[in-house]
Symmetry: C4
């Protein structure tokens, strides 16, 4: 295996939109790592629909609404967030930047939002926490081991590092059909310190990495985590009312609607197609987080208006990390905040609460 | 800042349709100015849908209707118009032609329709009026100042110059996400004499220009204008029944359905999607003006058949100004009139009143 | 005006489908004439939809139907036709071939179908009849003069030449917006002998030609023709139930559903969209003819299954005329007959009567 | 006729998806043979819709389902299949590989599924059986002769060679409009030993080959075969409830939903559009086999969830044969099995029975 040499940048990025970020990142992240980060499953139908689905609903502007300088901030549980836009769990930030999660966590912290650390991070939870600072808001995304002894240790590590939620990813018990990885013969070049007890990471295909984690996830696993820690458990990967009910019944205290960025099941619905249904099933009993396809402030607005409490971004932030380090990540979050604020003003909404009460219209 | 050198033409244009105009204008207007005029917001989805939305309705021709030489003229309030096609307010015609609004107002006057002067015009209302001639029909589009003293002065100027309507633009309390302007690093090269009391214009980004105007527009502002002048107030930017009701209740005497040419909120509806709903809400209590996406006579026909009393054009007329001065503007209006007359004949309608009673069919 | 030099071919054509014909004809017909024949109105939206509309309905094959060598022939009034596929009226076949309608009429006659001669033919009705032979089935398409004295003479000429129907084109009281003609500065290079009493043809734009004919067509004109000849009158250009009723009430004995090949009103429905509605309104009281967009046997099948008694083709036959003279025209008709027979067999239908009773399914 | 020189490969193929297979096969199969195999009818609308139709339904993943290593195997009648994915009948495998059906049957047998031999195979049933081995599962697809004496002999041959079903293809009583074959002037270069009593094959167009078989197929033919052998008869080409009823009533013991890979009727429905309707009509009284458009595991999943008991593949396996011989065919079947297993896991299903009970959601 040849050495994996990626970005070391820490600088301001010049960009207009997330397409600029994607194109820029393609030039600084090595091909294998970029293919892993950027692409999706199969024929990319679901992947592309993730973005296009937002066009099925339109925001009818409300005018004469006495609105100026909309406020994107939210109080979420004990946290005050600059905007309801958080960092989605993404494996191995080290692919995009030598400082990995240390810089992305720092950028998110500087912006003032939640950083969700992946089990497959390139950095320890200790280092991620330290990078974010003491007042940082961090969540931990959990790929369970097949061995509960290891799981107990990992949960304990998350507790010790102040994770405010454990996000159980239920839609990736194995890797999707990532053809870019196959064509690039991509294997993981970096260690995975958080799950080192069951997966070293280095030299593995992503499929092997996923399979080394627990595949037979079931409601009992939600119950297991919920009974072993006071940290609330979120179930990530919910796309149906039924799964929302099942998750809540087994102790989930948060529901995360996502199709894993179109990286798992090609031929499934766009994530946004499922949001309203799931949010109605949850019916306020738990927070709803949404990701997959957010590339614009208008997408975030539509997700919030369709029942999401928080919206997560993944790829754009990683591109920002590659292009500008912690500064780049913070800029990307500010891009989404600024676009959201602009849409809020044009829609005639002053606060995120207004957005959440806003009724979208079906597009023609 | 380098000098801004734009068209000085006054000549007949050779063109077949508005695409020719757009392509021609790209060659004579400097890049920054052209980008500002031509483009739209964000991913241009709403911008493009503005035109495509007309294809959702079809005009089923009526034959054997005893029709010849259809009459496009209308009597609107105290005005006789050659066609129900008027000039939309567009900022800074000086970007397209050194004579700015003087030539466009002259062209519209020669054609025999209404010229709506923008608050952000490159020319004074005095000069615009003089260019149009004494019998000219002019409206004034108002971006309010945050300072009512200034507003009173501007209203008084509009009165003095014979403006027959004050069009309060409610959908542009700040600038949309115009990425072309960002990429071109476009700043305004020209003064804005009408609003000089609060905005010089020169060297500003459009976003800064918009933000210098009043952002907290509310029904009380419609009331304020209505109580300070006898000129009827039109609210521009209405896309929902609710906003039509609110506008009328606060004293509006005209409703203008538009999404600002797709320049403000990307992710909102095509303007034509909203027209029928708004017109039904207005229900004849006030005139309905429509713009955004009119590129053909068939579009004007469909808008009139969907409830518009008047249809406004923007970009095509500005392209005509750049390519042919006052003559070019008049030609562009004649293009729309001629296409409308052709569609009227083929549809089996003799008068604009027939068009307004015509029932469109949903396309397959 | 330079001399107009067009095809003199009389030979077998090598072609697989009508796209081949179109591409081939572009090489042998002079640019101005080809543009006139090939193109449509405005943005070509309706023109293109004419073909695409057929995809909205699907033919669900019926199997095990005991079908072999389907019979495409029909008895229509006193005529036996090889297939229910007839020649639509097309102006000025002389644009495509020096022998003009003489060769196209001969080709259609050899095939065994109806030739509809246009008022704007390049050839006299006498010559067209002679070319078709004594047993030929010919219809006459009528663009009325503003002068009834001339109309009486033209009707008398049609009678004398054995026309079996007078097809009153009601959808072309003036020319559509043919941008190809504008760009080519196309004027008519050929005389129009049938209507020479009101229109010489030579050197005229098509718009001027159309306008020289009667524009104020009304039900009284159908009545006029019906009362001056025993030849049945067909009204061509009907796209709504209302116009079908009005036509029949004023004496029409045939209804022709068409949008003039997408050459008149861009922004109207695809012709096939209107067929079922019109046929239901006619309800068997008169024959229904259909044209516009027929490029395949499957299109003819779908039109027949949607209520058409006869299906007319225009451009493909003219391309055949240019590429192969009378032989080419006959080949084109055989192409449609063969494709129709193939579709009939695969659909499980033996006769045209079976086709007319076949129920199409809405496409997904 | 020049000699037909095709692939002799027997090796592992390097491919990621079926598009790779198609592109690879284009390089090793002679142009005429490749055109015959790869292409479809007419404008390829139905052909392309066969694949696109699957996007109209989405698989909503079920999470927390306690699923690991899904089992794709099925017991079908007396057979145990590695997956419910079988080989569709395809004429003349000799076009793709010198060993023809001998290698494809061997590959399918090694994989552990059903090989359906075409009447127009390049190999005798004896050789196909021998290639597959004694425990092989083989079906025989029947193009009946016009002569029942010959039919009796062919049925007897199928019986003698252990065929477990006789698949009567009802949708190809003649050849579809294969324009690729016309452009390539393709004639068959190989003998057809199974039907040699009525068709030699060599030097014939496919249309002539099809027409030499019986065209007047009717329910009595199903009855004839059913009364002359104990082997169950499947009717292939059913796309409507009515044809399902008629087939079952005449003795069919299996229903095969297909549009012949889009090779017969362009303008008909995508095969997947018809599946659910037919399966509901069959209502468990007989097995339902589906083919046409299966290019991914997700397609197979959707077909099984829509009522298919077995899913057949054609072109991809032939491409595998050309590129890798028996090994290639086996790899292609494993590709579909692996993709299906992945989709099963991501959908939350453990067995094929789970898949068949899975409810798809209509796509937006």
């Amino acid at each position: 295996m040849t050495e994996y040499i990626t970005s070391e940048r820490e600088q301001k990025i010049d960009f207009v939109n997330t397409t600029d970020l994607e194109e820029g990142a393609a030039k600084v992240i090595p091909k294998g790592g970029y293919g892993y980060i950027q692409s999706g499953a199969g024929d990319l139908i679901t992947y592309k629909n993730n973005v296009k689905a937002f066009d099925k609903k339109v925001i009818v502007p409300g005018v004469l609404r006495d609105v100026e300088d909309p406020d994107t901030s939210v109080d979420f549980q004990d946290m005050h967030l600059t905007a309801p836009i958080i960092m989605a769990p993404v494996a191995a930030h080290g692919l995009a930047h030598v400082e990995g999660e240390k810089y992305s966590a720092k950028g998110v912290s500087n912006f003032g939002s939640i950083f969700t650390a992946s089990s497959f991070a390139s950095t320890t939870l200790e280092d991620i926490r330290e990078a974010g600072g003491q007042d940082t808001n961090q969540w931990f995304q959990f790929y369970m081991s097949k061995d509960n002894g290891i799981n107990d240790q990992i949960i304990e590590t998350a507790e010790r590092n102040g994770s405010k939620a454990i996000v159980l990813t239920a839609d990736a018990t194995l890797g999707g059909n990532r053809e870019a990885d196959k064509r690039n013969h991509f294997t993981f070049p970096l260690p995975m310190p958080i799950v080192a007890a069951y997966q070293s990471g280095v030299g593995q295909t992503m499929d092997a990495v996923y399979k080394s984690a627990k595949q037979k996830l079931a409601p009992r696993d939600v119950e297991y985590i919920a009974s072993h820690t006071d940290i609330p458990v979120y179930v990530k990967g919910v796309q149906s009312a039924e799964d929302a009910y099942r998750s809540l019944e087994s102790g989930a205290r948060g529901i995360w609607v996502t199709n894993h960025g179109g990286r798992q099941l090609d031929g499934g619905p766009a994530a946004f197609e499922s949001l309203e249904t799931v949010a109605e099933a949850v019916n306020g009993r738990a927070p709803v987080v949404f990701d997959s396809g957010i590339r614009r402030g208008q997408h975030a607005f539509k997700a919030l208006a369709s029942g999401a409490d928080l919206v997560a971004i993944g790829r754009p932030a990683i591109y920002g990390l590659a292009l500008g380090g912690a500064t780049g990540v913070e800029q990307v979050f500010n891009f989404f905040k600024d676009e959201l604020a602009l849409v809020m003003q044009l829609a005639g909404t002053q606060t995120i609460d207004d957005v959440r009460k806003f009724t979208l219209r079906d597009a023609w």
